[in-house]
Symmetry: C2
Subunit: 136 residues, 2 copies
DNA sequence: CTCCCTGCAAACTATTTGCACCGTC
DNA sequence: GACGGTGCAAATAGTTTGCAGGGAG
């Protein structure tokens, strides 16, 4: 990930490393705000603008995947920066990355039915996770 | 659709009728701006705020489906106001509503693998439509 | 006649930009 | 030492809200 930056002619600054670290290590799908919160302890002067700028750079390099939701929230995925389905718990906001065999079938069926050449996709399923179902 | 408004204790104003008409008749998936443009000729004093307010009402009543995209654009669907997949042409911005048999399989596979109770989904595929492929 | 609705403008929020200083290379 | 990056504050864009007057019921 650091190599990707170097090869892109970008400088390695401490702030950048800190942002990378959050994206690479967090199990979940952090928001800009949440990255900000995690970087601030180490670099108290860091501003939100810096997070935005660097996330944009990483997005450009294909190192993170941006997930914009209709409620205005933006989440980022530094673990699997390519198109993949998401399952979102509408109660606790947890996001899972399931492996779905039927996806390939579906894409091919789509191409056949519509005549489109499919290049990207964005699949989100919403529901209630096992944990939240039990808490009822 | 008008009945839905009436039963929801909402008043039938000319502006509302005009907005309904655009949503019900347009083949595509109009944006707020595009609804605005189509309503303006009949009601030149109409403001964007009115469109937003009424679209929100219709969304609440389940009469339209809101499609927010990550590029900030919002489109609305008054023809099929329920969850269904979309195929978006990245060249001409056309949106299709394909019928996909594999969707049901996929949802069941998801529920089985993750333990989630799936309640809603949002599936968008991006690619190039036949028309735009030929224009190359 | 009562309210809800409209339309204007102002408020809001998330993101982006301009610019002076700083630190990497 | 040059120049890209940072951090602050101000600008921006899309959407929402407050309020006064108007029209539906």
């Amino acid at each position: 990930m650091v190599d990707a930056l170097r090869q892109g002619q970008y400088r390695i600054t401490p702030q950048r490393l800190a942002i990378l670290k959050v994206l690479a290590e967090s199990k979940g799908h952090p928001s800009v705000e949440s990255i900000f919160e995690q970087v601030k302890p180490n670099f108290p002067t860091t501003s939100l603008a810096t997070i935005y700028k660097n996330v944009a750079v990483l997005k450009e390099l294909g190192q993170v995947l941006e997930l914009g939701f209709s409620d205005g929230s933006n989440r980022y995925d530094g673990k699997k920066p390519w198109d993949h389905p998401h399952v979102v718990c509408t109660v606790c906001k947890k996001i899972l990355d399931p492996d779905i065999a039927a996806l390939e079938d579906m894409t091919q069926e789509l191409a056949r039915v519509t005549g489109f050449t499919i290049t990207r996709h964005r699949l989100d399923f919403f529901g209630i996770c096992p944990d939240c179902q039990n808490k009822k």
